[in-house]
């Protein structure tokens, strides 16, 4: 029998973490930056392809699972999180990453997001947020800004967009961060911290859609960036400060916005098991006594 150690050659450069499939993304798509950053993160952490599994749903960004040299699972629209969760529960030692877009995360799949946040299963969720449905060619997304013109809002959106960072902090996620696909070095740092964090890590990557929104997005976002690492007073363990940062209108803060140490779901499961095991098993005779009228 061939063991996984023999079957998979450990990549020695970030580039070797790519599967070799040519991405179908448009030239200039922000998602290339995320792919390159992930390869560098895998390399930095020395992740073994056979011990790493990345899950996605549907959308342009969800294609990323096929482009990495690890296990990949291109799942159903919106269902990356529960499928990833199932794999993590069955194989707790796997490095589990879920990835996808804003439609997958905050539209069809939003029901799973609050529960992933509050359960605190040790996995990382990267949402490549481009504020539009790219794969189906430019419809309104749940993060599209108010007034945005799309193919399903020809005269401007009348809906209030979801704020993913506010949502994640509000749902008790223990690691909430934001990165920009135009700054790979910074994104590598943020994603690395997310994977290293014990518990559920949510990372929103602003990943512009050059085809259906425009190339100028990179410059617009870049000019609004505020790096939280450069702010010595910012304390990511302070929840109220995190809410303020998440609600900013005049600038876009990137970096670790909120982080809290908390036992993971598996930690708590282990405690639960030990407690249950330590309690004396009731005999049938004891039960009869309990229910005796």
């Amino acid at each position: 029998m061939v063991t996984t150690e023999q079957a998979v050659k450990q990549p020695v450069t970030p580039e070797e973490y790519k599967s070799g499939l040519k991405p179908v993304w448009c030239p200039g798509c922000g998602d290339y930056g995320v792919l390159n950053a992930l390869c560098q993160v895998y390399h930095r952490l020395g992740l073994k392809p056979e011990e790493t599994m990345i899950f996605s749903g549907i959308g342009c960004s969800s294609r990323i699972t096929g482009y990495l040299k690890s296990y990949g699972f291109n799942s159903v629209h919106g269902r990356a999180l529960p499928i990833a969760m199932g794999a993590k529960l069955a194989r707790p030692k796997l490095n589990v990453i879920a990835a996808g877009g804003d439609g997958d995360a905050f539209s069809i799949g939003i029901g799973h997001f609050p529960h992933a946040c509050r359960r605190n299963i040790d996995m990382t969720y990267i949402v490549m947020d481009n504020h539009i449905y790219g794969l189906t060619k430019g419809q309104l997304s749940p993060t599209s800004p108010h007034d945005m013109l799309t193919t399903t809002s020809k005269f401007g959106s009348i809906e209030t967009p979801i704020n993913p960072i506010l949502l994640a902090i509000g749902c008790q996620a223990t690691f909430v961060a934001r990165a920009f696909s135009g700054n790979i070095k910074h994104m590598v740092d943020v994603i690395t911290k997310g994977i290293e964090h014990r518990g559920f890590s949510f990372i929103q990557v602003l990943s512009p859609c050059v085809t259906f929104i425009g190339k100028d997005q990179f410059l617009i976002i870049k000019n609004l960036l505020h790096y939280l690492e450069d702010d010595p007073d910012y304390d990511p363990s302070h929840r109220t400060s995190a809410f303020h940062v998440a609600d900013e209108k005049d600038r876009i803060s990137v970096g670790v916005i909120y982080q809290k140490k908390k036992p993971t779901y598996m930690d708590q499961l282990e405690i639960l098991r030990q407690n249950a095991a330590s309690k004396k098993k009731k005999k049938l005779a004891d039960l009869v006594e309990i229910f005796r009228p």
């Binding site: 549907i58 291109n74 159903v76 629209h77 919106g78 539209s107 069809i108 939003i110 449905y133 794969l135 189906t136 060619k137 419809q139 309104l140 749940p142 193919t151 399903t152 809002s153 020809k154 005269f155």
Partner: protein
């Protein structure tokens, strides 16, 4: 007025002509441009309707269940995974007796991912209580959306109109677009079965125990069966107004045919080509195209097939562990036929967008007529890679 339009445009135009009042959709390939067109019509004021792009197909159907409960005309469009996600609400819409109309652009269901045409998405919803129509041309798509509204509202039962993904949805054909006035005449407002009425408030669909639940289901069943006669009558009226006739099943050169092919959707066009070709060679072959799948047209199927010696059913969906879906239905129908009992053979092809070419149809006829008939299985695959 004639226009060169795609199947998806034909759907959008029909929905506009039907004066639908609430539309809720979620994008999915190859349906998306129906949503886009309808959104445009609504925001431009060309339609007096509310369009909402909701957060999932499940929500789209839920929104329409709410809207239709007030008695307004409602519409959605979807495909494949989107239809599967709606499943729970499909049962709800039919159980609540809401005449919602939906266009389903046929596309394969994963896994693995595939965006191309087959009939597995809609055929796996056959028991949800929705009427199902399968179209062969862009003209038929436009006309069938109108017919679907009329039949659905007549029997208070939801209806879905199927068009083959990409083959019809994205291919342009010359289509005669009816005048609004004539459509208004064909589609008058019908009184909804039990709309929400502020003057007479009721709770809808509350828990119904074993003492009455079956009565509800029997009424729902009877309505869907009544749709068979309703569809025949509506077709006659449609033909009178618009000059185009849509029987529940279409027979082509069936009269003296010894071998009859059964197909649904655009593959019937390829079958018709092969039938013509073989007829020129003096071979007695015919085609029956199933246009209305729910209600299942037992009468038409039995009368068209009774005289044949053998029937070859071409399925674009298979029920794993059993047989081709259309094959099962045709066979079951013929069992009760008072006429002859032809031998029925099941073939599966065209899954996930695999082209159904004339050679496959010829191969199918060859197999049921001559060589290797004994070797035929419950499911016989056409065009499978060795």
């Amino acid at each position: 007025m004639k226009a060169l339009i795609t199947g998806n445009e034909a759907v959008s135009i029909a929905v506009k002509l039907a004066r639908v009042e609430v539309i809720a959709t979620y994008p999915i390939t190859p349906q998306t441009n129906i949503s886009e067109k309808l959104s445009l019509y609504c925001s431009r004021g060309e339609m007096d309707a509310d369009f909402i792009k909701v957060e999932s197909e499940h929500s789209a159907m839920a929104t329409l269940v709410g809207a239709a409960s007030t008695g307004v005309r409602t519409f959605t469009a979807t495909s494949s995974q989107g239809l599967a996600l709606m499943h729970e609400l499909l049962h709800w819409a039919s159980g609540a007796r809401l005449p919602i109309v939906m266009a389903n652009v046929n596309r394969a269901l994963g896994a693995p991912w595939n965006i191309w045409c087959d009939h597995s998405d809609s055929l796996s919803q056959r028991d949800t209580g929705w009427l199902q129509f399968y179209c062969e041309s862009c003209q038929e798509v436009l006309d069938t959306v109108l017919i679907a509204f009329r039949v659905a509202e007549t029997v208070s039962t939801p209806a879905m109109v199927m068009l083959d993904g990409f083959i019809l949805s994205h291919t342009a054909e010359p289509v005669d677009i009816p005048e609004q006035e004539m459509v208004d005449k064909f589609l008058p407002r019908q009184k909804p079965l039990a709309p929400i009425d502020p003057k007479d408030p009721h709770t809808l669909h509350a828990v119904t125990g074993p003492d009455y639940f079956m009565e509800f289901k029997e009424k729902q069943y009877e309505a869907a069966r009544r749709a068979e006669q309703a569809a025949r009558e509506v077709s006659v009226e449609f033909a009178k107004i618009f000059g185009r006739n849509y029987p529940l099943t279409e027979g082509f050169m069936c009269d003296d045919a010894e071998t009859v092919i059964v197909a649904a959707g655009t593959s019937a066009g390829t079958c018709r080509y092969v039938v013509r070709k073989l007829r020129e060679q003096g071979r007695k072959v015919g085609l029956m195209r199933v246009r209305t799948f729910r209600p299942f047209p037992f009468e038409e199927v039995n009368s068209l097939l009774a005289a044949a010696k053998r029937v070859a059913v071409l399925d674009q969906a298979v029920s794993p562990g059993s047989e081709g879906v259309l094959f099962q239905e045709v066979k079951a129908s013929l069992y009760e036929s008072a006429g002859g009992r032809p031998a029925v053979y099941g073939f599966v092809s065209g899954l996930g967008g695999r082209d159904i070419v004339p050679e496959y149809i010829e191969e199918m006829i060859e197999k049921v007529e001559n060589s290797g008939k004994e070797k035929l299985d419950r499911v016989n695959w056409l065009g499978l890679k060795k």
